[in-house]
């Protein structure tokens, strides 16, 4: 099987990887680039644990071939915090105890960040539907929704 040479950008850093044609972006992020913050929960696009952005759009990295990332910008959980510290969403997830086991947390934060970039003031229903592709089995979602609402409020104040 011939490997493919893929040039992409991950969290703003140029990356070059050799990958198999069938390998998913998730596999390559985790196995080739060591970015294990993106989690695998199902490999069928049903749990959202592997959420990343691809040219700014929210996707499940299990349903993207690594080869498709050629020339694109990939954003993962590792790129959410900045050198000054945690992103507001990360801080709010902590303050609201919006995680228990934490396996779904990176996916939720990546997804919620895209939401707030598009809709700075989403109502509860909007948040719930936007995040419907991110399964959490621990929290019953309540504290996650509140964390996102609180982050939106804080970001609005900052703006």
């Amino acid at each position: 099987m011939s490997k493919l040479h893929v040039t992409t950008s991950v969290n703003g850093q140029p990356e070059e990887v050799l990958c198999e044609p069938h390998q998913s972006l998730l596999d390559v992020l985790r196995d080739e680039l060591g970015l294990t913050g993106t989690k695998e929960g199902c490999s069928t696009g049903d749990c959202g644990a592997c959420s990343v952005t691809l040219d700014g759009r929210l996707v499940c990295s299990c349903l993207v071939l690594a080869a498709e990332a050629e020339g694109k910008e990939v954003g993962t959980i590792e790129g959410v915090a900045n050198p000054d510290g945690l992103h507001v969403l990360q801080q709010k997830f902590l303050e609201h105890a919006a995680l228990q086991c934490g396996i779904c947390t990176p996916g939720f934060i990546v997804a919620a960040k895209v939401l707030l970039e598009r809709d700075p003031n989403p109502d509860e229903t909007t948040i719930r539907y936007w995040l419907a592709g991110n399964l959490c089995r621990c929290t019953g979602y309540d504290k996650i929704i509140r964390a996102v609402q609180d982050a939106a409020t804080e970001l609005a104040h900052e703006a």
């Binding site: 099987m1 011939s2 493919l4 198999e20 044609p21 069938h22 998913s24 490999s43 069928t44 696009g45 049903d46 959202g48 959420s51 691809l54 759009r57 929210l58 996707v59 499940c60 299990c62 349903l63 993207v64 071939l65 080869a67 498709e68 050629e70 997804a111 895209v114 939401l115 539907y129 936007w130 995040l131 419907a132 592709g133 991110n134």
Partner: protein, 291 residues
């Protein structure tokens, strides 16, 4: 067993030539658009290696145009992008709703109407919605291109009329007039993240007095392929699309449905609910057309 391979042609011609040469080499090919069905199936149902031909680098498959008479939606445009286009959403709200129902936000970022159609599942949400707006498939063929009505495109469960050397470029849809509107509803047990247990699309045109002058009703997930229910359309034409008319259309849908019992629902359930969906979608389409 062959190998997996990946190709991302940048023109229609190149794509056709990749399909042709792979076929000549005895290599299986698979068109890749959003990949939300293809990659899942490749890992579970049919693991046989193949060459994935990614059509997202081709200009025509990314084209979205809204003309005076006709709308064109490229086969590689993700649902999320369609949903962000307010003009398109205003013209074809039912179709865009159907596209919006396919999976989560994440799936929306990848899944395409073209892929949903080519997957040719009986439960594909956009197919009834495309049928009621009289969409036509634009197919790239070795000889150039050909066109097939969506209603004739899907030939069976998971089967369609595409040859192994062809692919779907996009969909042409007549631009709806002012008094026309469409709606699509499906039933799923949760609020999100499911495959339709039943689905119903309705497109209507009303005259100035609110009387229905034409109607198309199509139902999904209740037969091997989407059904255009003429009797339901007939029940609406000439009426004000009131409760009686909608109930008659609903009954026609329930009668026309020939579903199976599976993990997602029973025959009885699907037959009943597809009628309920027709009635509700018909009401929405009526209100849209008259506003």
């Amino acid at each position: 067993m062959g190998d997996y391979a990946y190709a991302a042609p940048t023109s229609l011609e190149e794509a056709l030539s990749v399909l042709e040469s792979q076929a000549n080499d005895g290599q299986r090919t698979q068109i890749l658009a959003g990949g939300t069905d293809v990659l899942v199936q490749m890992r579970s149902i049919d693991k046989e290696p193949r060459t994935l031909v990614d059509i997202k680098q081709i200009a025509e498959t990314n084209e979205l145009s809204i003309g005076a008479d006709e709308i064109f939606i490229g086969a590689a445009i993700p649902s999320a992008a369609l949903n962000e286009n307010d003009e398109l959403k205003g013209l074809l709200p039912g179709l865009i709703e159907a596209a919006d129902l396919i999976g989560s936000t994440q799936i929306q970022g990848r899944a395409t109407i073209g892929g949903n159609l080519c997957n040719s599942s009986p439960a594909g949400d956009t197919i009834p919605a495309l049928v009621v707006v009289s969409a036509v498939c634009v197919i790239a063929s070795p000889g150039g291109s050909r066109e097939v009505a969506v209603g004739d495109f899907v030939t069976g469960v998971g089967q369609n009329c595409l040859g192994s050397n062809e692919f779907l470029v996009g969909l042409k849809i007549p631009r709806p007039g002012n008094n026309s509107a469409d709606a699509y509803l499906r039933f799923i047990p949760r609020t999100e993240m499911d495959i339709a247990v039943a689905g119903a699309g309705v497109a209507l045109t009303l005259d100035d007095g609110g009387t229905c002058t034409s109607a198309r009703v199509a139902i999904g997930a209740v037969a091997p392929t989407v059904l255009l229910v003429e009797a339901a359309s007939a029940a609406l034409v000439g009426t004000k699309v009131d409760d009686d008319a909608l109930n008659a259309a609903a009954a026609a849908c329930s009668d026309a449905a020939s579903p199976i019992t599976d993990k997602r629902g029973t025959v009885e359930y699907r037959k009943k609910v597809v009628g309920v969906l027709c009635k509700r979608a018909g009401g929405i389409a009526r209100d849209r057309a008259s506003s």
